[in-house]
Amino acid sequence: MEHAEFRQIVVEHQARVFSIAYRILADRGVAEEVAQDVFLALYGVVDGLASADHIAAWVRRVAVHRATDALRRRPRTLHAAGQLEDWMAQCSPEPAASAQTLSMERLLLDLPAMQRSLVLLRYQEDLTPDEIAATLGMPVATVKSYLQRALKHLRTRASETWKEYMRHA
């Protein structure tokens, strides 16, 4: 594929890929490295992908896998107060990131990597459980079970934040 054409694909999918990586890793620098690697891998296979939908499914799947692999290699917790403040500081430069977005992203970090990935595919990418199962090659029942667990966990951890959101919604 010509570079000019590939660049258009990068521009079309860069926000999606970066968001998935960033919300799994909670580290802007590592998220960009992972996102770049996703596109470099895509360049090697893009001529074999049949359509725009195939490309979108491919980048979602590979972004999730690479980000969770990177997280596994570099486990981190943000329970220490200093780390949490550092994290909040590095992710706040974007004026478009609302307080609700930051709160939700913080809550996501309480989830195990797989549940976090599924929540992103469901609510960021707006995929149905069937589509998530097809994207990741998992049984639909497993996807639904993980999503249920994730929602229960988020509800438990987010009661104060969520009530604040509902008050202003």
Binding site: H3, V11, Q14, A15, F18, E32, L151, R155
Partner: protein, 109 residues
């Protein structure tokens, strides 16, 4: 149970509202493109290559035309010879016929 479902519904709406995609960092696409493998550049064709190709084409075309002309001439010569041979044969046969089949002048065996 109903309250729990309502809670989940509200939480799902909150997740959907809050988790829009974040913008990629400034210059992200440029950095990706800079890391792509470079395609090997084709060597530029020298300017005289086109002229040499045209001259070669003309020489070959001329040689073919000359050969075709020679073939045509040879063909016409062969045709003329064949016609002459036919005329000669016809004359001989005519002469033989005159001698053999003339009424009243020598009986045929």
């Amino acid at each position: 149970m109903h309250e729990e479902n309502e809670d989940f519904g509200a939480l799902e709406r909150a997740l959907g509202d809050s988790l829009g995609v974040r913008s990629a960092p400034e210059g992200f696409a440029d950095r990706v493109m800079a890391r792509l493998p470079r395609k090997p550049e084709r060597a530029a064709t020298p300017w005289w290559w086109s002229i040499a190709a045209a001259v070669l084409l003309m020489v070959c075309g001329g040689a073919y035309w000359q050969h075709a002309q020679q073939e045509r001439i040879a063909g016409e010569h062969a045709r003329a010879q064949a016609l002459l041979a036919l005329r000669l044969t016809a004359a001989v046969l005519n002469d033989v016929q005159q001698k053999v089949v003339v009424p009243g002048k020598g009986e045929t065996e």
